[in-house]
Symmetry: C2
Subunit: 315 residues, 2 copies
C-alpha cells in the first residue's frame, strides 16, 4: 500500500457513498443510518492464518469472503442487506495490484446485494485481517431468530454442509491443485454464497426460526434449539455433495459425521411447524433433516451424537 | 484464554444483554437496533504495536481505550452513545486475569455512557487487537457534521491538544517512569476521556460543525474545512498544557507546532457563527483558536503552516 490517501482514493473509486438507507455517507466522524426501520447488526473477523491463507486465497477471494461471511448472518435473519463498515489490518508489503483485486471483488459482492460501505478504519499490521460489521433491514415478517422451536417442529437445511470443510482440508493437503480434484468443495470454501434470497423467501414462508451454520451442525444445532430441547436427525448420505463423499472415501471418514462437523458452509438451518411447512417446502434447496425433540441431546440416524465440534481456543 | 465458552461466560458476567435501544441482544446471528431513530455508526481499530504497547498499557488501559476512541467519534457527532460490537483478536497466551481486567475496565466505560455490547466475534491471533463499531442516537439538533463552515466563522477547540502526543513520546522514551514526570500527558494517552457531555452541550448550542482530533489539528483541520476554505489560527502558547511545555522544553521543540501535530487527544474541533456563539462560549473548556478563511491554507500565529501531519503508510 503506497499511502493511506491513495488507498482511500481507491475505496472511493470502488464504493459509492450514497445509499437510500444512509442519511450521511462515510467521510465524517460517523455515517448515519436513516431511522424508520429496525436494523440488525453483525460483526465478523476474517484473519490471515486463522480464517484464510494467502497460499490458496487470492486477493479477490479474501475481499469476497470477508464480506460474504457477514452477509450470511444477515441472510440468517431473513434480512435485506443494507450497509457495512470495514476495519482493515494491512501489511505494508502488499502491492497496489493486491488491493485493486481485493476491493474490486468486495465491491462486486456489495453491489450484488445493494450494500453501501459506510465507514471504517485502516491500520498497518504484519498480519492481513478484516473486521466487518454489517447492517440489514427487516424482511417480510421482521427478523428470523434462533430458538422459538417446539417439540415436533421440522428441522431443515438449505445448502450443502460439510462441503466447505472438505474444500478446506483438500486445500490444506494439496494447495490449489485441489481445485482440479474437488472443484465444488474448494469453491464452497473460497467463495461461499450468502443465501440472502433464500432467507428472504423463508421469512415470507412463515417459518419459526433460522440461523447460519458457520461452526458446523454439531455445534450450531444446540445453539439453535436452546438448552431445553433436542433433535432426532435423519441424514441421508445421498443428500451430501459428491465432493464430500469423494474426500471422505479417500480419507476413510464417515461422510455423515464429517458433514455434521463441517463449519463455514454458511448453509442455513431452520425450523418450521409441520402444519405450516407448505410454503417453506417450495423454497429451492430445502431439505428436511429431522424433528425437534422434547429433551436435550441429538441423535443422528438412530445413534447419539456427542462430538462437541470446534472451540477456537481449546483445540 | 482458557476457552471460547469460558470467555463468553465472562462477557455475560460483565456486559448486560438488555438495553432500551435493542429489540434483540447478542447471542443470535445478529442483534437488532430498534427503529424510530437515526443511528450514527463509527468503527475503529486498536492494535498492539500500532496503537498501543503492552509495555506500558495495562489490560485495563487497553480495554478502556479501545472503546473510548470509538465513543469519541460519537461525541464528535453530538450523539448519545447507545451500543457497540467488538471483534477481538486474542493471543492464546494471555491469562484469565488479563481478560478480567480488560473486560471490567471496558464495561465500566460502557456503563458510564449507558452503552450495550450488542455482539462481536473472537479469534486467536498472536497480536492483540480490538475492532469496535459503535452506535449513537441523535442529540438536540440531530447529528453534528464536519464542513458547513463559512468564511468568518469562529473555530474553537474543547480539550487539550498535543498532550497525548507528549504522553506517548515520554512513554516511548522512558516507559512507565513517565507517569512521574508527565502525569497528565501519560493519562491523556492511556485513558483519553470521550467528550460526550461536551458534544451534547455543543449540539444544543447551535454550532455549525464538530469533529474529534484523532490525527492532530494539522491533519484534521483541512478535513474539517473541506477543500475550498482555509483558516487563520491564533494559538496562545499559554493555553497549552504545562506538560506539553515541559516535554517541548526538554526536547527543544516549539510547543505550538508540537501541539498542532499531536494526534489521539480526542479533543473536539468545532465551528460557530460569530453571531451565534453565545451559548457555545459557555461550554466548559471552550477555547477560540481562529477563524475560517476564504481560501485554502492555514496560518498559525501569522505564519503559513504546511506540515501535513501523519500518514499511517508513508511515515
Amino acid at each position: 500500500m503506497r499511502s493511506e490517501a491513495h488507498f482511500l482514493e481507491r475505496i472511493d473509486h470502488y464504493f459509492p457513498r450514497e445509499h437510500e438507507f444512509l442519511a450521511l455517507g462515510r467521510g465524517d466522524d460517523c455515517a448515519v443510518l436513516r431511522g424508520g426501520t429496525d436494523y440488525c447488526v453483525t460483526s465478523d473477523l476474517f484473519l490471515e492464518g486463522e480464517h484464510f491463507r494467502r497460499d490458496y486465497f487470492s486477493a479477490a477471494d479474501i475481499g469476497y469472503k470477508a464480506l460474504a461471511v457477514n452477509v450470511s448472518d444477515l441472510a440468517a435473519m431473513g434480512a435485506k442487506p443494507v450497509a457495512f463498515t470495514m476495519d482493515l489490518m494491512a501489511p505494508t508489503s502488499l502491492p497496489d495490484e493486491f488491493w485493486e483485486e481485493f476491493l474490486k471483488s468486495m465491491s462486486g459482492l456489495a453491489r450484488q446485494f445493494d450494500m453501501v460501505l459506510a465507514g471504517g478504519d485502516l491500520s498497518r499490521c504484519e498480519r492481513l485481517g478484516v473486521s466487518i460489521s454489517a447492517f440489514g433491514a427487516p424482511g417480510a415478517t421482521g427478523f428470523l431468530r434462533r430458538g422459538n422451536c417446539a417439540p415436533g417442529d421440522i428441522l431443515f437445511t438449505v445448502g450443502d454442509f460439510g462441503l466447505a470443510r472438505a474444500g478446506l482440508m483438500a486445500l490444506e493437503a494439496e494447495g490449489l491443485k485441489a481445485r482440479e480434484t474437488l472443484p465444488s468443495a474448494v469453491l464452497a470454501h473460497l467463495r461461499p454464497k450468502p443465501k440472502v434470497m433464500i432467507g428472504t423467501l423463508l421469512n415470507a414462508a412463515g417459518i419459526k426460526g433460522l440461523m447460519d451454520l458457520s461452526d458446523g451442525l454439531a455445534r450450531d444445532l444446540p445453539r439453535f434449539l436452546g438448552p431445553d430441547l433436542g433433535a432426532t436427525l435423519t441424514i441421508d448420505p445421498a443428500t451430501l455433495h459428491p465432493n464430500v463423499h469423494a474426500w471422505c472415501g479417500r480419507e476413510g471418514l464417515d461422510p455423515v459425521e464429517f458433514a455434521m462437523l463441517g463449519g463455514e458452509d454458511y448453509a442455513l438451518l431452520g425450523a418450521v411447524s409441520p402444519f405450516e411447512a407448505g410454503k417453506a417446502r417450495s423454497v429451492p434447496g430445502y431439505v428436511e433433516i429431522g424433528t425437534v425433540g422434547r429433551t436435550p441431546g441429538i441423535t443422528v440416524n438412530g445413534r447419539p451424537f456427542t462430538n462437541p465440534g470446534f472451540d477456537h481456543f481449546t483445540q
